[in-house]
């Protein structure tokens, strides 16, 4: 049996303040209501020079990009495999899935996402930890009416362009390309 060194546990004032701030933010989050604008909560992150987003409810975790085992002979968009909560997941290059975008910095984060494939998770690389954004649902619907692609371009107030990713469609497309 090992003897474990004990250290005095100190309460972190910084952590307490941070948690209070988070709670405050949550309290301020607009509640659902008929009179309020319906929005889609999304996770926004950069891919090269562009901004992309995934529906927030698909995001399960953001983990450091390490302990990924590369899989020789795999399709090029596959970075490798990793363990996450007892499952073996495939880590994929989002930039590659999107058709070979350039990137500003080497991704250091993996987003564990549920693409709607029966509960099966996949991991996507990401240059930075995403930030939550709300997109007016009306704008999303408008963009969807214009395109049925896996990535639709949503123009936000202030003319900012955001590429909203339909993960299931994106992965299905990749599967079809691989088989084709």
């Amino acid at each position: 049996m090992k003897i474990t060194a004990r250290t005095r546990e100190t309460s972190s004032e910084q952590a307490r303040v941070l948690l209070e701030r988070r709670a405050e933010r949550l309290r301020e989050k607009p509640r659902d209501g008929a009179d309020e604008e319906a929005v889609l909560w999304a996770a926004e992150f950069p891919v090269g020079e562009d901004s992309y987003a995934l529906p927030l409810d698909a995001l399960r975790a953001a983990v450091p990009l390490r302990m990924v085992t590369s899989v020789p002979l795999s399709p090029p968009h596959v970075i490798g495999i990793l363990r996450f909560q007892g499952q073996i997941l495939t880590a994929m290059s989002l930039s590659s899935l999107l058709g070979g975008r350039g990137w500003r910095e080497d991704p250091a984060v993996l987003l564990v996402v549920d693409p709607g494939l029966g509960g099966r998770l996949v991991a996507l690389d990401c240059e930075r930890i995403p930030k939550p954004v709300s997109i007016p649902l009306a704008l999303v619907e408008q963009a969807r009416s214009r395109s049925s692609e896996a990535v639709i371009e949503v123009t936000l107030p202030g003319l900012k362009q955001l590429n909203l990713i339909d993960l299931k469609r994106l992965l299905d497309r990749r599967v079809q390309e691989t088989r084709g």
């Binding site: 090992k2 007892g86 070979g100 350039g102 996949v122």
Partner: protein, 735 residues
């Protein structure tokens, strides 16, 4: 003993007894062939344990029956002869009844009669030279009825009831050894007292929790590394005096984290080991009892057959094992009854009198393959067709048009049997139906192949999520890969005089045989194929009847690992069986031996393509460059640092290198300069890429000898390939 108390103890006693009966069965089968003192002694001990344990639980009738088995076995102790067939038959049959009675007692169902077994054993007493049975009431009489065989509600017996009994009577001519002491039964009982019954789903849930704990352990490690970096940063700041106290505290936390991490790793390893022991059992636990099945069917049918088992050490989820027990019994009984010919017929056909029955088990990733083959007469296609028509299973015209493979599928139909009459062994037409249904219930399938006069082969394929198998871990470049130990014949070190190289292939002279020799790293696309170096580790693999030599960079060692299926995005890659988790949490890919064995024809298919080496310490950057370059028609190999790139350049030639500037170990400038200094590779074009586009970097790249410079944001689709192709063309033009 109260009924409640008995009900608590019985389930464990049933399990323990089943194990003992299984062991005794093996002993009886072997002792019937030849005397073996060790086996005989264990047989005697086992019978004694059954007797003592059942008596302890108040199951007097079962204790008496075990005693009667001892009566016909123990007089033979010390005689250097095989166990008489009649004795083996009687004890085997009695053990079956004994166990069935115990199970029925536990399940509170109708008890099988013990009286016929008693009569059978009594009839053998004269044969083995045992004295007549005692007439007191402690032993059950032959005329006992099933009702009388119910567990006696007697008070709990003394602690060692059997110790009071007289030792078995001496055998004529040879003195009998004393009966094993009652104490010998105690270890088994003690073990039993410590066993629990747990629900499978609880164990599976626990497995997942252990996986989570392993990840927590990894996070603890990561925290420690973060602390390392913080301490290093504080030291770099130079305010050593001002930060001394804080650094001291952090160093204490760091040591504590390191210790916690190690302890957590030990706990995880220990829990995984324990869970593996709980959830899995080796296949041999269900395969060994089949020897008894083969023996019994042979006795009934007058045939001779020997069962060989290969792969019995493969461990599997207990639930799968339990489900496979029935189908395997059916397959084995069918093989002997329908497949193996009588000794006379076999002799007439030039075969050995004794038929060969082989069960081969192999786990490939999450798939389990069980092959049951015999060297008998094979399936009788004409008879199958005739029965199918006679019983209106298929219309005549359809039956006539059926190919052999289609006819073979008919044997899995419910009620199909080619036996004209129902015998003790077969003829009911339910056996193969059961096999198919059970295997399908496990999400598997059954295939059958048969050659007239040569035998049949049934292949059961089914998924096996849990379980472990021995894996050899090897290294190729920076990659670790696993190979199933079952496929490894031997390992050796390469010697130049044993490696034969021609323009087409490399071969290894091994035990006076020429084997194809391949480089594992090249096979999985990590590098170009090359001739092994003197002293390089080689493995000889066998799979699907082929033997192949495989060069690796290092043999790391063998581990018992649970192989899990790969996720769907990479599951269809034919190279891999699955992945296993190593101690630190990283995944190890397990390569399929049959894929390697079948690779001879696939080699060098891409020899004429242009080759690019991507050197980048970012996994994701390597993936992106690969995406672009492969789309542009390049064969891409990768290296994660400059040192590895130089190593690859030493053995292979590339048309272009795509090199990241910002690598930790040897940056892109340094690598470029190193390349330019080596005359043999100095001409290879180098394209530098950088996350940061600066004039200074471009200038440094140019000075180092790079041919082009791209920022990573410029590596958009098409741009990288265009730049790389332009550089290659310029170099070739200049040459």
């Amino acid at each position: 003993m109260t009924d409640d108390f008995l009900a608590q103890l019985l389930p464990g006693f049933v399990d323990e007894s089943a194990e003992i009966v299984e062991r005794l069965t093996q002993h009886l089968i072997e002792l019937e062939k030849a005397h073996d003192k060790t086996r005989f002694d264990d047989l005697a001990r086992g019978l004694h344990t059954l007797k003592g344990s059942s008596a302890t639980l108040g199951l007097e009738e079962l204790s008496d029956l075990a005693h009667k088995m001892e009566d016909v076995v123990l007089p033979l102790r010390g005689r250097d002869i095989a166990l008489p067939g009649a004795v083996a038959d009687a004890v085997l049959a009695t053990l079956d009844v004994w166990l069935a009675n115990l199970r029925a007692t536990n399940n509170k169902t109708e008890l099988p009669a013990l009286a016929p077994s008693v009569q059978l054993l009594e009839s053998l007493r004269a044969l083995v030279g045992a004295p007549p049975p005692k007439k007191n009431g402690s032993h059950m009489g032959a005329a006992q009825t099933p009702a009388q065989a119910a567990p006696a509600p007697a008070p709990a017996p003394a602690a060692h009831p059997v110790a009071k009994e007289a030792p078995p009577p001496p055998v004529a001519a040879t003195p009998a050894a004393p009966a094993p002491e009652a104490e010998e039964a105690e270890p088994a009982q003690a073990e039993e007292a410590g066993s629990w019954r747990v629900r499978t789903r609880d164990v599976v849930a626990l497995l997942h929790e252990v996986e989570r704990l392993r990840e927590v352990r990894l996070r603890v490690d990561e925290r420690r590394r973060e602390l390392d970096r913080t301490l290093a940063a504080l030291t770099r700041l130079g305010m050593l005096a001002q930060t001394a106290e804080v650094r001291g505290q952090l160093a204490g936390v760091q040591r504590a984290l390191a210790s916690d991490g190690e302890e957590a790793a030990d706990i995880v390893a220990s829990m995984e080991e324990g869970l593996k022991a709980i959830t899995t059992l080796p296949m041999r636990t269900i395969l060994e009892p089949l020897r008894r099945t083969v023996r019994d069917v042979c006795k009934t049918t007058g045939k001779l057959a020997r069962l060989s088992v290969v792969g019995g050490e493969v461990s599997l989820d207990r639930r799968i094992l339990e489900s496979l027990r029935g189908p395997l019994v059916h397959l084995v009984r069918n093989a002997v009854d329908h497949g193996i010919e009588s000794p006379e017929v076999r002799e007439g056909r030039g075969k050995h009198r004794e038929g060969a029955l082989v069960i081969r088990v192999e786990q490939q990733g999450n798939m389990l393959f069980i092959e049951v083959s015999d060297d008998g007469g094979g399936l009788d296609n004409a008879r199958i067709k005739q029965v199918a028509i006679e019983r209106n299973i298929v219309p005549t015209a359809e039956a006539e048009a059926m190919l052999p493979a289609q006819l073979h599928q008919l044997i899995f139909r419910n009620g199909f049997s080619t036996r004209g009459t129902v015998t003790e062994v077969s003829g009911r037409g339910v056996g193969m139906d059961v096999v198919r249904n059970e295997v399908q219930a496990l999400q598997g399938h059954v295939e059958v192949q048969s050659t007239p006069g040569q035998g049949s082969r049934f292949l059961l394929s089914l998924p096996a999520d849990l379980g472990s198998s021995p894996v050899l871990v090897v290294r190729c470049g920076e990659h670790q890969l696993g190979l199933p130990m079952s496929a490894i014949e031997t390992s050796l070190l390469a010697r130049f005089d044993e490696v034969k190289t021609s323009r087409e292939r490399i071969q290894l002279v091994h035990r006076e045989e020429l084997l194809p020799l391949a480089d594992l790293g090249a096979l999985v696309g990590l590098r170009q194929a090359e001739q092994p170096q003197e002293g390089q580790p080689l493995l000889v693999l066998q799979s699907q009847g082929k033997r192949v030599a495989l060069a690796v960079d290092e043999v790391i060692g063998d581990l018992e690992l649970a192989i899990r299926p790969l996720p769907p995005e990479v599951r269809e890659l034919p190279a891999y069986q699955g992945a296993a988790t190593l101690a630190r949490g990283e995944l190890l890919l397990i390569v399929r031996p049959d894929w390697i064995a079948g690779l001879e024809r696939k080699a060098s298919a891409i020899a004429s393509s242009r080759r690019a080496l991507v050197v980048d310490d970012s996994l994701t950057a390597r993936a992106l460059h690969r995406t672009a370059l492969e789309a542009g028609g390049y064969v891409v190999h990768t290296a994660s640092n400059g040192r590895q790139a130089l190593e690859q350049l030493r053995h292979a030639s590339y048309d272009v290198l795509v090199v990241d500037i910002g690598m930790e170990e040897m940056d892109g400038f340094e690598l470029t300069r190193a390349i330019r200094k080596k005359p043999e590779i100095a001409q290879v074009p180098v394209v530098l890429v950088s996350a940061h586009d600066s004039a200074a970097d471009r200038q440094r790249g140019s000075e180092a000898g790079a041919d082009a410079f791209l920022s990573k944001k410029e590596c958009v689709s098409g741009r990288l390939v265009a730049e790389v192709s332009a550089v290659v063309a310029r170099k070739q033009g200049a040459a």
